[in-house]
Amino acid sequence: MSTSNHEADSLAPGEAPDRKQGAPGGVIVLFFIVGFALSMAFGWLVFPKLLYSEKNQPFDFNHKIHMDLVDSGCESCHVFREDGTYAGVPTLAQCADCHQDVQGESKDEEVFVNEYVANEKEVPWLIYSRQPDCVFFSHAAHVKMAEMECKECHGDIGESESLKVYRENRITGYSQDIWGENIAGIRKNTWDGMKMTDCGKCHEERMGSKGPCFQCHK
């Protein structure tokens, strides 16, 4: 072993080896910190901006005005069908019941009536809460049976005066609202996200179990 280590062979006792001089330890630590800080900044600040593209709805919609005009709250327009299934976003026919002609002074209503109602074209709304096809969700089970408020998952959208920008995940194609605005996934309110963990958390709290996989993944 010793024959292969010429440096060690020639050393006097107690003498340090004659190494090629490199960057001092402080520089290395500095570089490490810089790398750490840059990637932290990228991960926390830049990445979320890159991940989502911003899209506008076809035209704006004032939930508040409509809520003041109807009797049955959200369910006045977001109806349950006779068989108990949930119809989701109202169809053109539902809206056209009232909006056959322009009624107010809003430009958005003008766009709706002239571009969509007049041409009998469904509005291509961007849906903030759309889930992947592999997820089965029954509104009836939650709203009718468990008597949950719409707000618990959808937040104060019913009180909003305009629609927020739709931020679409460039990789998945789903809305930012599913993951939640907080990139770290931290929740303050029950409506801050719509991931499986959110469903599981609520199920565990109220029903004592997250439920089996096939309850939602049919």
């Binding site: 490199g22 960057a23 810089v34 990445f47 096809d133 592999c134 993951w179």
Partner: protein, 722 residues
């Protein structure tokens, strides 16, 4: 400050460490997994408006109402129809898999002409015009040679307009050879004819909902017997009412497990048990008085040959158990009913057993009594101009199967006699064969002979929706729409308590180049011109349905079904037999040590329609393991034959040797081998083919001396370690 390679390495390491403390890797992993679910080529159902349409299921004779869930134009789900009297919203595994028949890989996608050898299912596409011209030429050739009476037709049922259109086409051409596949209902009809002297078409109905005590002779009452969903509902009523039920069977089937008691009699001695019960009833003077012929002779026969003690020895039961059961059964307060028809009841079975069980019902006063068994007139509401003339024109002609004549007056059709007839004669008595909604090459016992006979038939036209064992022997396929693409009235037999007619509706546009078989028959008739064309005065099949069904057509279109009322047939004098036919229910070589019995379940369908892939997926490992059939034997049998659980063995009957796997179970009698029915199909569908063995390949048919049907319920076999 000196910067070198290590500084950059530190930068990289720092970046990597920093990244781990950001949401980036976790979020990207999550997004990537969702991204993989959204690849464009993944088969996802379309998003769109959901609609429901109602129709009826025809995959088994049960007569359930269904509704299909559609996204845009595609059917994505089949559900039970809540308002239908048979299933009230329920649905079985076969019914729910119907979408795989509609869109599945075994569909016949256009008219086809055979291009390979018979048995190979190899086809060349042709046009409808070419196909119809070919049928026309075949019919004309036989008519010109004065052999029109050799034109035959096999259908799955003789009810409703489609089978009757075939019957009419044959009649107007001068052929009486319209045949259907035989089921337990045909045996019940034969019993009503034999023991009540009834002549016309008569149906059996069971008032299960009001029964107080059920005695089943091997009937899989909750495993697909009669109308499967109706029976499951009836069983729920029995459970709620604590209705006692006794099952006579050699294995612990689901029905046996559901029942309150299992009587495992020696295989083939079920009729003896019924007669022993009759003897106990008569000797205990428990029988109901009525107009009965031959009572003294019957009592004498029982005393001589079927005394309780003799029957106890023969069946392996205790004499006291037989007497107790007889007392309970005959007690008028029991409102009992005895039922037969093995497994799902899709085979005719032995007349000896049917007669013995019916005699038991007669003695206990359970025929045409609430909660019992009823004889009701078969519906005759389809009447077309000229029917009588055509029927009388062919009535003098001999049928190829001899049904209704000579020694076979009890049966309307004896399809089981055709293969042996052809093979014995060495030539086909059928010149041209039509097959619609039936799969005789798969369902008739003694498959080898059936194949041989079908090879000899000069020309076979199939009207199948999917390729199957029988289409493989056809020369031409004129494909029918699937049941989800066509109108068809479907009168339901299946022992329901009320007469019922369902209507299937085109809830999907035709997926392939197919045609409603009703339209095809009308087109064939019209192409023949003259009196044949005149006998089919309708524009098309829908016009025929509308004109034939009259007032019911609109109701059927709107509601999907019409329920009627049927008063029981006056039974007149009961004729009890003075001698019981001696027909061994177990065929084959008596030297073989074991008895092979088919077993039916709700997961495997052994009739004309094969399990779609979804349904096949739920067949348990104890019936099908990989591509091998699994047979069930008792631990004692396994030891005696040197068999091991899960290991391969060679199953041999007089007809065939096959390799199977063995499942050792405590729930089966010693000396019995149970084999699942419904496997071993050849359909040209990769999910179904080469899976297990068809029971009929192993079962040697046994002609019933009384009815002429195939009486076989089991066959002798050996099972040796492979």
């Amino acid at each position: 400050m000196k910067i070198d390679r290590r500084s950059f390495l530190a930068l990289g390491l720092g970046a990597a460490a920093g990244t781990a403390f950001t949401p980036l890797p976790w979020k990207l992993t999550d997004d990537a997994s969702i991204w993989t679910q959204n690849w464009r080529w993944l088969p996802l159902p379309e998003d769109g408006d959901v609609t429901y349409e109602t129709t009826a299921c025809t995959l088994c004779p049960g007569g359930c109402g269904i509704r299909v869930r559609k996204v845009k134009d595609r059917i994505v789900k089949i559900e039970g129809l809540p308002e239908h009297p048979v299933n009230q919203g329920g649905i079985c595994a076969l019914g729910i898999s119907g979408t795989q028949i509609l869109y599945g890989g075994s569909r016949v996608t256009s008219p086809m002409r055979r291009s390979g050898d018979r048995g190979k299912n190899e086809w060349t596409r042709i046009t409808w015009d070419e196909a119809l011209a070919e049928v026309k030429a075949q019919i004309n050739a036989l008519v010109d040679a004065d052999k029109a009476d050799t034109i035959a037709c096999i259908t799955g049922s003789d009810r409703g307009t489609v089978p009757l259109l075939f019957k009419r086409l044959l009649a107007v051409l001068g052929s009486p050879n319209f045949m259907t596949t035989a089921t337990m209902e045909d045996s019940y009809r034969a019993v009503f004819r034999k023991m009540h002297g009834l002549k016309g078409p008569v149906d059996v109905r069971f008032d299960f909902e009001n029964t107080g005590f059920v005695l089943s002779f091997g009937s899989g009452l909750i495993e697909g017997w009669g109308s499967p969903l109706r029976m499951i509902r009836a069983a729920n009523v029995w459970k709620a009412n604590k209705t006692p039920m006794i099952q006579v069977e050699q294995r612990l089937s689901n029905t046996a497990a559901f029942s309150g008691g299992l009587l495992a009699v020696n295989p083939g001695t079920e009729a003896d048990l019924a007669l022993g019960l009759c003897h106990a009833i008569i000797s205990g003077n428990l029988h109901q008085a009525g107009s009965v012929s031959g009572f003294a002779e019957f009592a004498n026969l029982l005393k001589q040959k079927y005394s309780v003690d003799t029957v106890a020895t023969k069946t392996g039961l205790k004499a006291t158990a037989i007497v107790d059961l007889a007392r309970k059964f005959a007690n008028p307060a029991s409102r009992s009913v005895a039922v037969c028809g093995r497994g799902k009841g899709t085979t005719a079975g032995s007349m000896r057993e049917f007669m013995a069980v019916h005699a038991l019902n007669i003695l206990a006063g359970r025929v045409n009594a609430p909660g019992g068994v009823f004889a009701v007139p078969a519906p005759d509401d389809i009447a077309w101009a000229g029917d009588t003339v055509m029927t009388s024109a062919i009535s003098g002609k001999t049928r190829i199967d001899e049904a209704g004549t000579g020694a076979y007056t009890l049966a309307d059709s004896l399809l089981n006699r055709i293969p042996s007839g052809i093979v014995e004669k060495g030539e086909s008595s059928i010149g041209l064969l039509f097959v619609s909604e039936a799969n005789p090459v798969y369902t008739l016992s003694g498959t080898k002979n059936v194949r041989k006979a079908f090879k000899k038939i000069p020309y076979i036209v199939s009207f199948a929706t999917c390729l199957d064992d029988t289409t493989a022997y056809a020369d031409l396929i004129l494909p029918n729409h699937s049941y989800l693409e066509r109108y068809q009235d479907v009168p339901v037999r299946a022992g329901l308590s009320k007469p019922l007619v369902n209507l299937t509706k085109p809830v999907s546009a035709p997926v392939y180049d197919t045609q409603n078989v009703g339209d095809t028959v009308i087109s064939i008739a019209k192409s023949l011109e003259g009196s044949v064309a005149e006998a089919f005065p309708w524009e098309n099949y829908e016009d025929c349905l509308a004109k034939t069904l009259g007032g019911r057509w609109e109701t059927l279109k709107e509601k999907g079904f019409v329920e009627g009322e049927a008063n029981p047939v006056a039974l007149g004098n009961v004729i009890l037999p003075s001698e019981m036919p001696d027909i061994p229910a177990i065929s084959g070589d008596g030297n073989l040590p074991l008895i092979l019995l088919p077993k039916d379940s709700m997961r495997l369908w052994g009739d004309a329609v094969a399990d779609p892939p979804f349904a096949l997926k739920i067949v348990p490992d104890t019936e099908l393991k990989g591509t091998e059939t699994v047979v069930e034997v008792s631990p004692k049998t396994a030891v005696a034959q040197g068999l091991e659980d899960g290991k391969e063995a060679v199953l041999t009957t007089t007809l065939k040797s096959v390799t199977v796997k063995v499942a050792v179970s405590d729930g089966i009698m010693d000396g019995v081998v149970a084999i699942p029915r419904g496997l071993g199909r050849s359909s040209a569908e990769k999910y179904l083919d080469d899976k297990g063995v068809n029971v009929c390949e192993l079962m040697e048919p046994q002609e019933d001396k009384v009815s002429g049907f195939d009486a076989v319920i089991g066959t002798r076999a050996s099972l040796k370690r492979a």
